[in-house]
Symmetry: C2
Subunit: 301 residues, 2 copies
């Protein structure tokens, strides 16, 4: 099939691929077009099951059109989830959010638990919060600036949000933020790393779990030391890093659950859309650390 | 029963109790006698089931004799394990070693896996190594100085041992030690923390597990920052802190397995015994970081 890509997804992992270090992702070869998540539609087809106008998602180079080979088991997913908000903003992201929820019975956030989410207003954090709220958790976000914090509590459903920009390091954070986060947290969905992870460690309950989804604080090459790793021992914490693409088995369930949340209005993904790839050439944009909210997209046509 | 204590066990956790910080253990109150693991014998009894000369272990103040109230379910254990090497050197230690082995099916060291053990020649590390060897693992130790490393490989059964004293920090460690530890490790039993844990992180395989049993590098109050926590994410590691006393359910099994290893000569615990508590008043002795080998004991009578 020949696919016309309508949207390209910009995500923090792309910045990681620009480093020439050992990682789970192949470094981006110089002089080649970056690959990213796309959604679009079939404009030509030589395949009996996929007609023109079929919605299409892919990992593809950021170009307007590309030939694509339909994998055998794609059909059902493509038809059951026409909603772009669920099907696109990185299917990866959806599964990621589920990792803390579904690694095993005893790790699932339970009703009444306090769950902390860093990079709270990003595409990952906001969807994770919706999932945790649907399970009855108290969800506390960490975000940068009063606008994002207000957005978190007023639109995304967070019970509280801590503005990390009013703190310089981890130490005063737990004290000053006593009002929004009076209870220590039992589970953390960590996307940032660095001193923010230290701040989280200082407020974790005994036997707490930390799902390490990302460390965007270090994507520009800054060192990411941790000052209080001894708290992992003192508080008998579980810390686990994970990569979404290695948990494909939970994707169908994740898509269904997220689709339900979007359909019922409990998850209202916000998108920042740039017109054309020339509009936003700075790689830091993908990390959404500045003025952008929610999912970062580029409209290609 | 009135018990005469023959031996007092000195252990790293005692140093931790001398800090006035929040921890899993109560801080030691000033002016009171330190509590520790003891073995001894009953010298007077008002209890029908425990006669004179019954072997006795307890958590007790480091005094020669003390009255003790027999708990209901102690009897069997006291009689089935007369071997001081198994019954004493901290029953806690035995369960600790089992924690990495028995948290769940998928976490057990499997035959052929490379397992790294820091503080390798200590009471904990050496017994853990014997258990891992019995399961067919390749066991690499980390210890301080050529004497301890030779002891690890020649007497304790380690396949290799890295002398951390020839390294100044984590970075050169993996390169220089290519000969003794050519393969990256899949599981680590960590007792030290600090840059040695960084060195371990730099050599962990993807999906590796780190059981965090102790962080003796920080027991004197030195800060214990971690330089490469991002590797937990990059390599999708599981890191888990645990405290032996919270896993009592594995103690009977641990005692049986360790008893078998001692009985068959596969585990030959080495003890450093001081005569009288006055002989070794320095708290650093309990951390066995200097010239002592194996389990640290004080003979009280």
């Amino acid at each position: 099939v020949l696919v016309r890509h309508h949207y390209l997804s910009l995500d923090p992992y792309m910045r990681g691929r620009m480093n020439d270090g050992k990682s789970y992702a192949q470094p981006q070869p110089l002089g080649e077009v970056m690959i990213g998540g796309t959604v679009g539609e079939v404009v030509e087809s030589a395949h009996p099951r996929f007609r023109r106008a079929t919605r299409w998602w892919a990992w593809a180079a950021g170009r307007n059109t590309a030939w694509s080979m339909p994998p055998a088991r794609r059909a059902a997913q493509g038809r059951h989830h026409p909603c772009a908000a669920v099907a696109l903003p990185g299917r990866g992201r959806h599964a990621r959010r589920h990792r803390l929820v579904r690694p095993g019975q005893d790790h699932r956030p339970k009703a009444g638990e306090t769950v902390v989410v860093s990079a709270a207003t990003g595409a990952v954090g906001s969807a994770f919060a919706a999932l945790a709220k649907a399970r009855g958790c108290r969800v506390v976000g960490i975000a940068g600036g009063p606008d994002k914090c207000r957005y978190a509590t007023e639109e995304l459903g967070f019970d509280a949000c801590i503005d990390y920009k009013v703190h310089k390091d981890a130490k005063p954070c737990p004290r000053r933020s006593r009002t929004p986060a009076p209870r220590a947290s039992t589970a953390t969905f960590e996307n940032v790393g660095g001193w923010m992870l230290d701040a989280v460690l200082l407020r974790m309950n005994a036997f707490g779990r930390i799902a390490l989804c990302g460390m965007i604080a270090g994507y520009d090459g800054a060192p990411l030391p941790l000052a209080y790793p001894a708290l992992i021992l003192v508080n008998r914490l579980k810390v686990e890093g994970f990569i979404v693409s290695e948990h494909m088995e939970v994707w169908p369930e994740a898509l269904k659950e997220l689709g339900t949340l979007v359909g019922s209005g409990k998850l209202r993904p916000r998108e920042s859309i740039a017109q054309g790839i020339e509009a936003r050439p700075r790689p830091s944009w993908a990390c959404s650390r500045a003025s952008n909210f929610g999912k970062q997209l580029v409209k290609l046509i």
